[in-house]
Symmetry: C2
Subunit: 195 residues, 2 copies
Amino acid sequence: MSYQSESLIAQTREVREASGVSQRALSERAGLTQSHISQIESGKMEPGLSSFIDMTRALDLELMLVPKRLVPAVLSLVKAQAAPDMHIHAGQPNDKRFARAERLVKKMKHLYGSSADLDRIEETLRFLRRVSLGDQEMQLVRELIARLERYQASDQAAPIAREIAQNLQRLRNSIAHRAISEPRPAYSLDGDDDA
Amino acid sequence: MSYQSESLIAQTREVREASGVSQRALSERAGLTQSHISQIESGKMEPGLSSFIDMTRALDLELMLVPKRLVPAVLSLVKAQAAPDMHIHAGQPNDKRFARAERLVKKMKHLYGSSADLDRIEETLRFLRRVSLGDQEMQLVRELIARLERYQASDQAAPIAREIAQNLQRLRNSIAHRAISEPRPAYSLDGDDDA
DNA sequence: TATCCTGATGCGTTATTTTGTATCGATGAA
DNA sequence: TTCATCGATACAAAATAACGCATCAGGATA
């Protein structure tokens, strides 16, 4: 007895993970317990409506009621508009790579102080992390990160960072462009199949 | 401890009433009890997420998760597109008047048999009932209905019905036109005011 | 290595929902 | 009037959500 809410709950989990919010952090913001959230997310318990609303609000989401007929329209609106900022997908093996990369940047900022380039890298990583990347694209990201890691302590760190920032930015732009023109392959959002 | 779900629940109630579905009918469709639904709608009880989903599905509604930033867009989409068909508002004193009018038409159809004019009147009434009418507009509707009631048994019933159908149609058209061009005054949908 | 944080899990208790059944007053229809 | 249906309400019983706290293993960090 659940499965109707599966999709909704899965979405909140994806958003939570994509935003880098832990269950404990969310539990404080939402006023629930961590164990509670864990059980909800893992499907061992069905939340009350108000509990669920608390969760979604804490994630900057709104629960909205939409006439069935308009669901596709709303869905495409959310997908299209949210693409350059959201585009949820998590639990991928790539996630670790991104997390590692972001830590690396943070570390460098701590060492050298913030720079426009590091900021750009950080922001672009955050974007790329949420987008579904093709294999080649992911390969490129991997190489760039590897280079950044290699030169992190070198005295060429600054120019290298600039170059990497530019490359990442270029990748981001190409993806953002693709996002509004092409139809998009397959998604994790929606998941709407009625009985 | 509720108030977050107030708006959502209120919407389901409005949709239910606007669709002319009784709590009992809904309870069967949704697999819940009538007493349960009554308590939910009157705010005496907070439904579980799955119960609420059952209710909404039975009303041809979908619960969707929308990034806060996109709420206005989705809202306008729902409002605009749903206008000529939904535009929920209920519990108004006008409702009784409309219900009475629709019964009158049904009665006349039963007496004289269905006619294109009566059908048009019926359909137009159903539309007008869901739209928020200005005072003058409601006044016009009242007069037309009164005239229909007065001549329901007369031998002029047929031509009168035709005239009334035309007048109602005209009103409907003007409202439908207004609906897509002007911004709309004040609505019951949305009701989104965060704490 | 030791430390910290993540999410998952267990358990006892309380609070609340949900069901089921039954009734009520109001309202409209025959 | 009589009859049906509407929504609201009552009450007991069963189910379950929610809390609180404590613990666990995994992974990353230092």
